[in-house]
Symmetry: C2
Amino acid sequence: MKQTAEPDGGLAPRTVTEPGPIRPFGSREQHLGALFEAVLTRGPLSRRDAARLTGLSAASVTKLVKPMISHGYLIENVREAGVPGRPQIPLQVDAGRHHAVGIKLMDGEIVGVVADLHAEVQSAHRMKYRDTSPEGVVSAIEEMTRILLERSPVDRARLLGIGVGLGGHINANTGVVVKSPFLGWRDVPLRKLLVERMNLPVVIENDVNTLAVAEQWFGAGSSFPSFALVTIGVGVGCALVLENQLWRGVSGAAGEFGHMVVDPDGPECHCGKRGCLEAVVGDTAIAATMSAAVGRRFTKVSQVVAQAHAGDPDARQVFTQAGVALGRAIAALLNLLNPPLVILSGEGMTASDLFIDALRAELDRDAFSSTATDCTVLVRPLPDETWARGAAATMLREGVLRSLSKLSDQVPA
Amino acid sequence: MKQTAEPDGGLAPRTVTEPGPIRPFGSREQHLGALFEAVLTRGPLSRRDAARLTGLSAASVTKLVKPMISHGYLIENVREAGVPGRPQIPLQVDAGRHHAVGIKLMDGEIVGVVADLHAEVQSAHRMKYRDTSPEGVVSAIEEMTRILLERSPVDRARLLGIGVGLGGHINANTGVVVKSPFLGWRDVPLRKLLVERMNLPVVIENDVNTLAVAEQWFGAGSSFPSFALVTIGVGVGCALVLENQLWRGVSGAAGEFGHMVVDPDGPECHCGKRGCLEAVVGDTAIAATMSAAVGRRFTKVSQVVAQAHAGDPDARQVFTQAGVALGRAIAALLNLLNPPLVILSGEGMTASDLFIDALRAELDRDAFSSTATDCTVLVRPLPDETWARGAAATMLREGVLRSLSKLSDQVPA
DNA sequence: CCCGTTAGTTCACTGCGTCAAGCAATAGTG
DNA sequence: CACTATTGCTTGACGCAGTGAACTAACGGG
């Protein structure tokens, strides 16, 4: 805590020097972005429908779309008639026009993809790495990028950059890894290092946040202004999108969900506390609980999952307990923020059938008033490269919105 | 939960009918509001400083301030020289120009105030009521308003309306009390009833939210774009202000903090679960825990507080435990949202010395990375009418911002 | 008394979105 | 096969809001 004081030290600043947070002018940039997002996420769209979606007038849409077409962001599809009246001209994003590399850093392993503007994966690769020093990781990412771009060659001019997602406390604005337990890092300026080495735009972001961005652009999140994304796997993570904005918190550390204490008398967590959510429902926790219950050593969740699917009551019980704990934590989230949507994702959700019922029941039990009934809960098992895809999506979004804002009306030569 | 499904049912809406969420035009209304808020919360302010604060140009400030002065919202103070150059003209809000009634509904008791635009309380009153039917409550509020306005007569034209704060799930937009446990209500259109009876603008809002609004305008919150407000007393409540906006959630139920489960094996809660935060640190919980520990019957917290202040180790222990539980819950909040400020308030904070150290220690222990160090924690013991004052502030804000938006440049006759 | 300095005001200008009118392209109809 | 109804897109005049630059106002100091 910075300080604690009884306030009301009513300071009347004689000279105010705060930098005005208000944009001096023009919402054009925002409207360009909104229009692009609408066309991207809501499939092919006529100008008229785009106008309705964004709230702009048809005239404005025409004006704004023009430079986006001439610069190659959007393309006009062939008109399709069928109803009386002039047929609509479907607009869509020229997906192949822009690409990005997405990379997910894990403990000892790294997954990378090349994705186009629809976040369709063009190629993927997976490799191990040992050297966890900043230099080593940068080299691994360089190597990965080289391999990926060899497999699916992308014109450098059309490569928006590299998005990197990793667990821990990442300050996306400064590009600094504030703290990453699995790498043992503190305050490593990863973005700077990567930009210097690769000479390409780089975005680094918490891995769960990258998933949320992908979900917001290409998934269920596109229909909801706010949602929470909870991932279950080795760890438990959470990302928040509030009013269409990724919520990062003051220091960029928002969304730390795994170390919420759900049972003060629960098992010890690697963070030093007892009964953290992660220590109850994380992968290692599942295996450990099962081992303790049966008296036989389980090292992997997959073994417990297999047992449970085979009908073993002990294994089923382990998952039921995990579901209850998870439900309790998510209920806390629901009660606190009352979001319209919660997406459950992560490797752990592939076995969601084993605990989803317990989770739901607990949600209904714990949720205050209508916070549970007013919330859609979505289960999203994770295809393997999705994390890396999310990182690519984050870079795509950043890059496209940035370049859109520089768009001028004039047609390029 | 509404539903659960694997999504990607990629619906391509042929005809889009969504109402565009974008404002058709003009940010003038927002700038008027921002300017007014700046002058209100940042004390007397010259046009120049106001410009710096809001980010507007000096020219714009001149233009926007003109109608606010001619309509009596702002007044020019006498200039004060001292430095070379033309002296500044301090602008300030004409506090006496607008008033509002603020009312806090409690179980069997009702507190009301009349407040001016600075939320200075002009007069206050407190009374009991028995009839908890909607009719009865409306009558009590009417009676209260009558008494308050007798004591401090306010020109009806200058009375912006009545703000009502009460615990429970309140939908401020529709003016409906969705659920109020202490009144035993469900879906009561309280605002409608009050408007009909009183023929005045009415705002109803969750009581903790009204406190947050007051804090945002007149308290520490005015210097932070986002903060969380946690109240401890009979119940435990929470309100969130995110990016200068009160966060209500989809259904207006956000901020339910008291029924987060902090200890699954803890004491039973009146909500039916076990180990809710409220059941561990609420007023009745404190008394109950103390009774159990000592084997003597305590019915009021004040008794336990007295014992603790007298040095009774049992009593002190009770508060220490409560501090730990509270710290744990607030740490969860910190980790999830990473806000720059948390304000601790409510009647319970008058005894904050008994548990604040335990709370702080737990925060530091539980918080991930820098979420605790980057967060200012403020203790705000509650003067008695503050709840009602908050309700008045909510009405003032609503009323003023609404009427500002109708302001035209022309000088009134 | 004039100068430097700072605050506030005026005004021509510009960017941006809108409205209204016009143009374009289809299906249906006599 | 015109002709009309219908719907989508485009164009241009308009208005609003905010700005920069020039100007006026009001002070202290030499």
